[in-house]
């Protein structure tokens, strides 16, 4: 019990075990959110009138504190990982929908016309033109959603120790061991930073056509970064 | 007078934008800096109001070093017009124009009434005053830009490619408007463009610059066209500089013939009664040109306009240049140009050959006159 990373036995995990758990609880919802967001966003691009109400609903969902979300869900899914992951998936969805819609809409009309003129059907046009050009915006959303998700998992501690690294907070407080709290906070922050850096790397690999360090084009017409701007951590 | 005295602009990375430039910009005239992109023309302009500071040399304004006065005082004494007008999208047109007067501490009412006065001067309808920039066309926005620069009645106007973002028709209108305003106000205008035609049209003096920020030639446009300093300037002026130079010679010297002109119904016939001219110009009763009658076409009684050759657009005798006269002659199916007076009545006709002689005479005169030609000799059209 003297090593820096030694944990009390009631946590039932090693430090690395908690890191793995944390990643799983944070990343699965982000992926689920992304998969759900793609069709929703495509629908919003197709049917313009649908976008404002969808934005409204997502904004309200985003305003619900995560803890309240967790507690309400306990009734249905119990004090489990699933209870933590469902709200995180919803928050990710909220970040992804505007990111994808704005990204896809930012594809210049001439580019789409050129694709149509070359005989690309709607599906090919979506997969080969719109989605790749929207990739930087989508990855920007992915970064925000992932970092936010990693931060929010900790709150799961409050519903029967489902907070992975966050569970250290409770033990640290009740056993009076600041070391455990530090381990939780620093560990979560490092995890978020590393995953964020990997996503930046992913964007570089996926979008070699983007000028390095350049700002997004035609800033003047950029829609307001509604909820995408700088999504934060727990509430 | 603005004197640019041995000015060099060197950037930290070593590139030289302007290289030891010296020239005098005369008061009350339009001086145009023209050259390919990267020749330092805009940098030169921006050094006059110290948006860019020279690395070496100095700029004197009425004999005083421009660095002697506070930079913002200097800038407020010079109007500044840029390519896309640079209007403030959050302010109405009238408030855009009133910007500098407000900076100078004018009251809101005085600044606004001045702004409305300027809107009229640059040809903007007063109803646009409360509009926002996005509600205006590109040409209108550019007029607002000019009005805004004139608002505090600065003695100097700096214009950086102000008309290059509008379409050619609108551009021509703006150029004519600028010349009209300049005739009324007599500002010292420094104008930057990459369009040599614009430079020749607007400039009293034209400074041609070449890549590397060096001055290639500084001369009135007529001299530029007649005596380009070197191959670069000649190349930059383009292949038809001889034709364009004719814009600077008036058509007043042309000897107009009235012999081959007849009103319809007079019974005269081409080739028999017209002397040198093989064709007869038929006019209506008011003396306006209808068309050319071919030899042998009887013109007694009402003439069928369908049987006449078109006479094309005539030139205005004395007002248009030799270039316009030659153009009419070249376009005319008969090789003869039709001259009209200010009210559109035929003043006479002139042959290509006669215009050619006038051109030769003008060239001979132009050379002996030397440098004092330029704007004083410039003729409309």
């Amino acid at each position: 019990m003297n090593g820096l990373f030694d944990l009390p036995s009631d946590l039932q995990h090693s430090y690395l075990g908690l890191v793995g758990l944390h990643l799983r609880e944070a990343l699965i919802p982000v992926l689920a959110g992304l998969l759900l967001a793609l069709p929703v966003a495509q629908l919003c691009v197709r049917l313009r009138w649908l976008y404002p109400p969808v934005l409204g609903v997502t904004t309200v969902l985003y305003a619900i504190p995560s803890l309240a979300f967790f507690v309400v869900l306990i009734d249905y899914t119990g004090q489990t990982e699933t209870t933590v992951m469902i709200p995180l998936a919803v928050y990710s969805l909220v970040v992804f929908v505007p990111a994808i819609v704005d990204g896809v809409r930012s594809v210049p009309q001439e580019t789409l016309d050129a694709a149509t003129a070359m005989g690309l059907g709607p599906v090919r046009r979506y997969l080969q033109v719109q989605l790749p050009i929207a990739a930087p915006a989508i990855i920007a959303g992915l970064r925000v959603a992932t970092v936010s998700s990693i931060s929010l998992v900790s709150v799961g501690m409050l519903i029967g120790n489902q907070g992975a690294l966050g569970n250290l907070l409770y033990d640290g407080m009740s056993y009076g061991r600041p070391r455990l709290v530090w381990l939780s906070v620093i560990g979560t922050a490092v995890l978020a930073t590393v995953v964020d850096a990997l996503l930046v790397l992913l964007r570089r690999i996926l979008t070699p056509w983007m000028p390095r360090g350049a700002r997004r084009p035609s800033a003047g017409n950029r829609p307001e970064p509604a909820v995408t701007a700088g999504k934060g951590a727990a509430r | 007078m603005i004197r640019i005295d041995g000015v060099t602009k060197r950037y930290p990375d070593g590139t030289v934008a302007v290289d030891r430039l010296s020239l005098d910009i005369p008061d009350g005239a339009i001086t145009v800096f023209v050259g390919p992109s990267g020749c330092g023309k805009t940098t030169t302009l921006r050094m006059i109001n110290r948006m860019v500071e020279p690395s070496e040399g100095r700029i004197l304004i009425d004999g005083e070093d421009s660095r002697r006065q506070p930079v913002n005082t200097l800038r407020r004494s010079m109007g500044y017009v840029i390519q896309n007008a640079g209007l403030f999208q959050h302010r109405t047109i009238v408030d855009n124009i009133a910007t500098v007067p407000r900076l100078l501490g004018w009251s809101k009412e005085k600044a606004r009434s001045r702004a409305r006065e300027l809107m009229e001067r640059v040809g903007l309808d007063g109803s646009l005053a409360k509009r926002y920039p996005y509600q205006l066309s590109g040409g209108q926005q550019q007029r607002v830009g000019v009005a805004r620069a004139l608002a505090a009645d600065p003695p100097v106007l700096l214009m950086d490619e102000p008309f290059s973002a509008v379409d050619p028709v609108v551009r021509k209108g703006l150029q004519d408007e600028l010349l009209r305003i300049q005739a009324e106000l007599g500002k010292t205008i420094v104008f930057v463009t990459h369009d040599i035609d614009e430079a020749v049209k607007l400039g009293t003096m034209v400074a041609v610059m070449r890549t590397g920020g060096r001055l290639a030639q500084y001369a009135p446009p007529a001299e530029l066209l007649s005596d380009p300093a070197d191959a670069f300037v000649e190349d930059f002026l383009g292949a038809d500089r001889g034709i364009r130079r004719l814009s600077f010679f008036p058509s007043a010297e042309l000897e107009l013939l009235t012999g081959p002109v007849a009103a319809a119904g007079t019974g005269r016939t081409a080739a028999r009664d017209t002397g040198d001219a093989p064709y007869l110009l038929v006019t209506d009763a008011d003396g306006r040109p209808l068309g050319w009658a071919e030899p042998g076409l009887p013109t007694d009684g009402p003439v069928d306009p369908g049987r006449l050759l078109p006479c094309g657009r005539p030139f205005v005798a004395g007002q248009d240049s030799l270039r316009a006269a030659l153009d009419c002659a070249v376009l005319s199916p008969t090789g003869w140009a039709v001259a009209v007076d200010g009210s559109g009545r035929v003043a006479g006709v002139v042959s290509q050959q006669a215009i050619g002689e006038a051109i030769r005479a003008a060239h001979a005169g132009g050379r002996s006159d030397g440098a004092d030609t330029g704007a004083s000799a410039k003729v409309a059209g």
Partner: protein, 222 residues
């Protein structure tokens, strides 16, 4: 047993409207935490964002700070601050400010950078001072986006201020936290509803502020 049933029960119970645990008290506490946090975050983020955006320098440093701040988990930070500083307002304010600064900072910077440079050039050419250019030329145009950043930050603060209850402070989080421990769903749902409503009011206020302060010449894109 649906959510609406709990909402009705919560707001119907007159006991929830009085005393130190009454809705008015908790709402005011929550508002107080949120306003202080937003004020501090704006005092930090706005000047820094405006200045770096105006000069165009320091963008990388700013992005680095924002990324780092974003990576810090609010809940963990709260517990850590509680351990370090003990009971009080400061341990709650630190995570809320850390949460709110990145969106304000980044959005303000981006908004200023995205202002069309030609009016700025024209303003400088007319002899406007840099301060005037910032406040009279750039900010009016950047304002809608700047307000958007503040709005995002405000909604996040309102929602996250609930964690204050974990370290024994008040605010609407009290209902959620107490409800969790007492297995009183009515309280949890009631608290969550109040927080969401407050967030919506915040959005409405920002919308109104935008209508009042953004010039129609800028607003046109809507």
């Amino acid at each position: 047993m649906n959510v609406l049933h709990f909402v009705g029960a919560f707001f119907g119970d007159s006991a929830h409207w009085h005393g130190y645990d009454g809705i008015p008290t908790r709402l005011l506490e929550h508002l107080r935490y949120s306003l202080i946090a937003l004020g501090v975050a704006a005092a930090v983020g706005l000047p820094a964002g405006l200045l770096t955006g105006h000069t165009g320098r320091g963008g990388n440093v700013l992005a680095f700070i924002a990324t780092a701040a974003r990576a810090l988990p609010s809940f963990g930070l709260l517990v850590l601050m509680f351990i370090l500083f003990g009971f009080g307002l400061v341990p709650v304010m630190i995570p809320l400010v850390v949460l709110a600064v990145p969106p304000i900072l980044v959005t303000t910077y981006e908004a200023m950078r995205s202002v069309d440079p030609s009016p700025v050039d024209a303003a400088r050419g007319m002899g406007m001072s840099e301060a005037r250019i910032l406040f009279q030329v750039e900010l009016p145009v950047a304002l809608p986006v700047v307000l958007g950043g503040l709005r995002t930050a405000a909604v996040q603060i309102v929602s996250t201020a609930t964690i204050a209850a974990y370290v024994s402070l008040g605010g609407l989080g009290r209902y959620i936290m107490d409800g969790l421990y007492q297995h009183d769903y009515e309280k949890v749902v009631g608290g969550a509803t109040l927080v969401a409503a407050l967030a919506l009011v915040t959005l409405a206020l920002f919308w109104a502020a935008g209508r009042l302060t953004v010039s129609p010449g800028v607003r046109r894109r809507g």
